[in-house]
């Protein structure tokens, strides 16, 4: 997953990830790309379009 530079680390993506794969630190977002099934729910829910599939 690509995290765009305007991500504000709100954590909404982590909350909706059905596989609990997104770690939200204070200024870093960490995805477990290996386990990701690319459902793109995180992309859809981001309020500011800060995520993009690789």
């Amino acid at each position: 997953m690509i995290v765009k530079e305007w991500c504000m680390y709100c954590g909404e993506c982590a909350g909706v990830c059905p596989r609990n794969l997104i770690e939200v630190k204070e200024t870093v977002l960490v995805f477990d790309d290996e386990q990701c099934k690319e459902c793109e729910i995180c992309v859809k829910c981001c309020p500011i379009d800060a995520l993009e599939k690789n």
Partner: protein, 403 residues
């Protein structure tokens, strides 16, 4: 067991109760667990508790009173004495002046409020660790070991009871095997500006705007004093192809109150509005606040409900520590208390929310028209819904049996 970090081993700290997340729910849980005699550690991943805010900042006076919290002007920045409901065509319903408002309240400054709630936990005896991220946990003996990271250094906290207060992200509950996390259709995507130069007709009321300007949610203007207001909205992302931010820009451009307003802050965040999760505890674990869906599905408000349940969690945890019983059965007293206090109300509001979300702009306009002729003696969420059922045959059919 303490080992030297410098030679690559990890320090372990032991405690009775570990609260993960220092938002209002977590801080309240930590405070009450500490007051109940438990040894408590409260961890928060951010460097500053309460910032950035992810909230419209409204609370009821009644709720604060029930929690035993005296309003402080440093964080209760604006008193509210009414509401204004605005339909898609601009028809508005004013509920203020001589109408009783049991849910009247304040607009908070969350950056101060959250810190004050954490300070109360600290003064009660909780140890607070900020800039400390919980990265994972494992069951060990009669508790859990949580791996934490603070500025690159790993360490572990062993606790008999974990209180998961990590907000909508809700990792901790899921690590413990509890079904937390929120389906996309139940997560409001929120976005808000704090603005100056907001020209409200009445700067002492909360304004709510409904309709297709915020699919699955609503827009709000919550005054913070003088010409300052939180101007925001929330949408259900699965109901639209535009982002919440795009909807907010449109709203600000078109709303008369904000045509000259200037944004000084942008906030975003998710708000779980699918109701309380069914299971909120298990062996050695309690889940509180947004992580447990303890949010009013209709308004999106979760401060008071989260803190109330946080109080229950802290008390139950302290009692369990005293009794040396951290089992799911013992901790289920927490679930029972939350359900008794909030369950029925939140379930009803969930049904109302689903109903309102199904209405078209013209149906909402008709309801606003019908409300022009309604006498209100008291405004509360329940009273508004009861009036809605009276004026709308469709609402009567869908919601009549609830209230």
């Amino acid at each position: 067991m303490i080992m030297d970090n410098k030679i690559g081993l990890i320090v372990m700290i032991e405690t009775d109760v570990l609260v993960i997340g220092a938002g209002p729910a977590g801080s309240t849980a930590a405070k009450h667990a500490a007051l109940g005699g438990a040894k408590v550690i409260l961890v928060e991943k951010k460097s500053e508790i309460g910032a950035p805010k992810r909230c419209a900042e409204g609370v009821s006076k009644e709720g604060l009173k029930l929690l035993g919290i005296e309003p402080d002007p440093r964080w209760a920045v604006k008193e509210i004495d009414g509401i204004r409901l605005v339909a898609p065509n601009g028809t508005d319903v004013w509920l203020n002046d001589e109408i009783k408002l049991p849910e009247a309240g304040y607009i908070l400054e969350r950056k101060v409020f959250d810190k004050f709630m954490a300070m109360d936990a600290g003064r009660a005896g909780a140890d607070i660790k900020i800039k400390t991220l919980a990265k994972g946990m494992r069951k060990e003996g009669s508790g859990y070991v949580v791996t934490c990271e603070t500025m690159g250094e790993l360490f572990e906290i062993k606790a008999k009871i974990i209180i998961a207060a990590d907000g909508p992200e809700s990792h901790v509950g899921r690590w413990a095997g509890i079904k937390t996390g929120t389906k996309a259709k139940n997560m409001e995507s929120g976005v808000q500006f704090e603005m100056c130069n907001v020209e409200m007709e009445d700067p002492d009321v909360l304004e709510f705007y409904f309709g297709s300007l915020a699919p699955g949610g609503y827009a709000w203007i919550f005054p913070k004093g003088n010409d300052i207001a939180n101007v925001g909205l929330a949408v259900i992302a699965t109901e639209t192809d535009k982002t919440a931010y795009q909807y907010l820009l449109d709203f600000v451009d078109n709303c008369p109150a904000t045509k000259n307003a200037k944004a000084v802050e942008l906030n975003i965040g998710g708000d779980p509005v699918g109701g309380m999760i069914k299971q909120m505890s298990d062996d050695n674990v309690l889940v509180v606040g947004d992580a447990a869906g303890q949010v009013n599905p209709l308004t999106g408000g979760g401060i008071i409900s989260g803190m109330t349940c946080g109080m229950f969690a802290g008390k139950v945890a302290a009692e369990a520590i005293t009794e040396k019983d951290y089992s799911a059965k013992r901790l289920s007293a927490y679930d029972k208390k939350c359900q008794e206090e909030l369950g029925s109300k939140l379930n009803k509001y969930l049904k109302v929310k689903d109903y309102l979300s199904s209405l078209s702009d013209s149906e909402l306009d008709s309801i606003a028209d019908a409300f022009q002729n309604v006498e209100f003696e008291e405004i509360s969420t329940t009273e508004l819904i009861k009036k809605l059922i009276k004026v709308s045959p469709k609402a009567l059919l869908k919601l009549g049996k609830l209230f």
